[in-house]
């Protein structure tokens, strides 16, 4: 159970004071006042985490609310058949004042959208990336004999990277007329400020939550059993976080943060431990977040779907941090892929080199900004950018070898859906994931490269059983808790992957059996959790992005 400067979702003050009070307040409020209650507690939560930096959130809320209305209003005055009208006018050579006014309106509509996005991303870039860009600029300035710039110290409000994406998504959806501009201010306030999402997402879209906030949509019945399920989901998340992830944090720090970097088999240990830690922590906190939201009648989108059963890197990204992947797909990939430039490029390449090459070229064009954005979104560090490029290259490689792979299966007659090939693909994806996370966690790109190269020096596999693992800051009992805990989570994921719903199974059990399961989970967290004397509280990893 952590102890950070802000109230993390794993902290007692959140779980046993803030959340119960919120649920109580929500439950006793008349339905029509609930959105006000949720907005008030969300802002209180934000204030508790970021104090006066709440002005950024409030500013963004007012800004996107007004801009959304404005963009919506201008958009409404542009007819649906705008493109047809313009094309007709161009064909006939007609230069009527109506058509000119329409064009101006369309341009103004676009300008409003662009200004909104530039301002929203501008705040993010200024607060989070000024130092990074200055350090790049300083390299050239110093080379040219100039005086290096001094980066200002800027405080970043909690969750800025997450709610900026939500805000930009909303503006784009209104601009594209996929949704009407929201007239309820509190719907917008909660879209970007709903307290369980503040720190680590999930990055919700208008369609996911806003109508639930405003009371127009009800996705589930908030009854006793559902509340019990929500509470148990919170405990399940805490199990992943404090039984597994917090123990591995010590191991990971010992392997990545020491001056002398490990080598050989210990690099594999480092990559695997960090990947497991990140999954347990991030998915565990998502369980807490989704459970918390459910307690106040809101269904949030899932962010993980058994990612370690993925058979390719692209499938992994459809199962891991799903809402970020979906955001990038909808607001970066598709607009680029549907652009005139991309279409022309596709046509040209198809003529010259065939359909496969054209598909590859357009994919490369659309995926490049997606992955650069993904890397940079995690923070202003070269290893994050490398992480994005790493997946870009892998995804393009997947497409390059597609025909060869199909030919291989056709020639050998091997059933590609058979157990062996499936297992092989899953294990291959694990190698890809672990390698990516090695660079992602490393202290800078140099350190990542150094560690990767160290894998090939003095492998020393015997260090897995000669007691070396006990010199990484945790003892036998901690390792046992980590391994058994991971096995339990793996079995849960496996059952879910095979379509078995633990929730449905539980709901069919008699009360004593169901309660026994609940108590077992609660005591597993309490007895096997890494907290109290001898353990260091661990901050939430994704809250730092």
């Amino acid at each position: 159970m952590g102890a950070t400067g802000h109230m993390g979702y794993n902290e007692l003050s959140y779980l046993f004071i803030f959340l119960p009070l919120t649920v109580l307040l929500y439950s006793i409020s008349p339905k029509k006042f609930r959105k006000y209650v949720l907005t008030a507690v969300s802002w209180v939560y934000f204030w508790l985490c970021s104090k006066y930096l709440i002005v950024y959130l409030l500013g963004d809320t007012v800004f996107i609310y007004l801009m959304g209305l404005w963009i919506g209003k201008v958009g409404d005055s542009i007819p649906e058949n705008y493109e047809v009208l313009i094309r007709k006018a161009e064909k006939s050579g007609e230069k009527s004042p109506e058509i000119s006014a329409l064009k101006r309106k369309k341009a103004f509509h676009k300008t409003l959208m662009l200004v909104s996005i530039i301002i929203l991303f501008g705040i993010l870039l200024y607060l989070k990336y000024t130092g990074f860009f200055m350090s790049i600029a300083n390299r050239f300035i110093v080379k040219g004999g100039g005086v290096p710039l001094v980066a200002p110290t800027l405080l970043v409000p909690i969750g800025l990277s997450f709610y900026t994406l939500e805000a930009v998504g909303y503006i784009l959806e209104v601009y594209w007329k996929r949704i009407p501009a929201e007239h309820d201010f509190f719907g917008i306030a909660l879209l970007i400020g709903f307290f369980p999402q503040t720190m680590e997402g999930p990055i919700a879209r208008y369609g996911d939550t806003v109508r639930q906030f405003t009371g127009e949509q009800k996705l589930f019945e908030r009854n006793g059993q559902d509340m019990a399920y929500a509470v148990m989901r919170i405990f399940w998340g805490m199990f992943k976080k404090i039984v597994i992830a917090d123990r591995l944090n010590t191991v990971v720090a010992n392997l990545f943060d020491k001056a002398e970097l490990p080598h050989g088999v210990m690099i594999i240990v480092a990559a695997v431990c960090y990947t497991v830690q990140l999954y347990m922590e991030f998915s565990g906190m998502m369980d807490v977040v989704i459970g918390s939201a459910r307690l106040v009648g809101i269904k949030l989108p899932e962010n993980f779907r058994q990612p370690f059963f993925s058979q390719t890197a692209s499938e992994f990204w459809r199962r891991w941090h799903i809402t970020l992947g979906a955001w990038l797909k909808d607001y970066v990939f598709y607009p680029v892929a549907a652009s005139r430039f991309s279409k022309n490029l596709g046509k040209k390449v198809r003529k010259k080199s065939g359909r496969h090459a054209a598909k590859l070229a357009t994919s490369a064009l659309a995926l490049t900004p997606v992955w650069l954005f993904n890397g940079l979104w995690h923070g202003p560090q070269m290893n994050y950018i490398f992480y994005g490029i790493y997946y870009l290259v892998l995804l393009l490689l997947e497409q390059v070898i597609d025909p060869a792979r199909d030919a291989f299966y056709a020639k050998t007659g091997i059933n590609r859906k058979g157990r062996g090939p499936t297992l092989f693909r899953i294990l291959r994806t694990w190698v890809i994931i672990f390698t990516g996370e090695l660079f992602f966690r490393a202290n800078g790109l140099n350190s990542g490269v150094h560690m990767f190269l160290n894998l090939f020096h003095g492998f020393g596999i015997s260090r897995l059983w000669d007691g070396s693992l006990l010199n990484l800051g945790i003892n036998e009992s901690d390792w046992l808790a980590v391994v058994l805990g991971t096995v339990v989570v793996f079995i849960y994921d496996l059952l879910t992957e095979r379509g078995f719903s633990i929730r449905d199974w539980m709901s069919k059990r008699k009360t004593p059996v169901r309660w026994a399961c609940y108590y077992a989970l609660i005591f597993a967290v309490i007895i096997f959790g890494a907290y109290g004397t001898g353990y260091q509280a661990v901050d939430l990893i994704y809250a730092g992005f």
């Binding site: 009992s477 005591f523 309490i526």
Partner: protein, 352 residues
Amino acid sequence: MKQTNHSGKGSRIRGVLFFLVLILLFSLVSRFFIFLSSEEGRKGMHMRDYIYTALGEERKGSLDLLVTGNSESAASYSPLEAYTDQGIASFNASAYRLKMQEIYLMVENTLKRQKIKVLVLETLSLTEPVEENEALEALMKGEAEWVFPVFRFHNIWTHGLDPLDWQPAMWKGYIIRTQVKRPKNMGLYMHPSDFFYDLPPANIRMLDRLLRLCDSKGVQLILYSAPSPQNYDMKKHNTFAKLAEERGLTYLDLNLLTDQVGIDWKTDSLDAGDHLNICGARKVTAYLSEAVKELEPDLPDRREDPGYSDWEEAAASYKKEADAGARKVMDRLAKRRARWQKAARKQAQGQG
């Protein structure tokens, strides 16, 4: 098929029942963990829990004085020394980096079993960095640990897998330390200054809460600073003196009284002026227990009390160990001196 009613009154009753059973289970599991924490389970226990467990085992109503704080008081006050010198029945409930929030809860819970007359708080705990939210977390965790000890002893299952078959002998909370290392240089130790040290507001609030608790229970609260050139300076002294004055508390800064206490930095420091060893602790205890006796004359002398015969036995055993510890300190110093002399002779011969 009969439909289960998951809403309304039935659901609320089930919810309440669930929590009642949960609380019952917490109590039962806590009792089981307390059972495990006695004897074998104590091996491998972290020092704070080890001390709290020992404190909880003191006979009800047997303690008159409680000393608490972080490692500074842990190393500088020996209760059985005070018993031998002044007949004071005391306990040293101090541990490394103990937070003010933990101290408050420990005192609050100890006062339920003990009729403490004087509480002596070592001041360095007030400087422990703690943010507002951390203070709340510490209070909540501490409260949970006192109400349901399973939260404190939950790690006991690990002792079976990683047996630590050794725990230092504890004498009413004090552990004899025999290492010796003099401070390299005293720097600006207690040089005059008009400046003040910034204490975390959460700690000051906790001190005030502790003071209110003491007032309500008729306990006299005394502040003291253990001699420690690594941790104390006049900035801190000014701060604590002001804090004590504003609250009408007695504050004994032994860093300004090292001559009266008789501290010899060559022999009394454990680790270069951070903590005291057994020699230093004996001197501080002698001075402090005498001062406390003067400040609280009603503090009973338990040496003649037949109910304290076990203390007599403990004090006799302790004395043997403490004397042996003090001799060990002197032996270490003598050996070190001999090594230096030998090295100096070698060097002189080489030059010759």
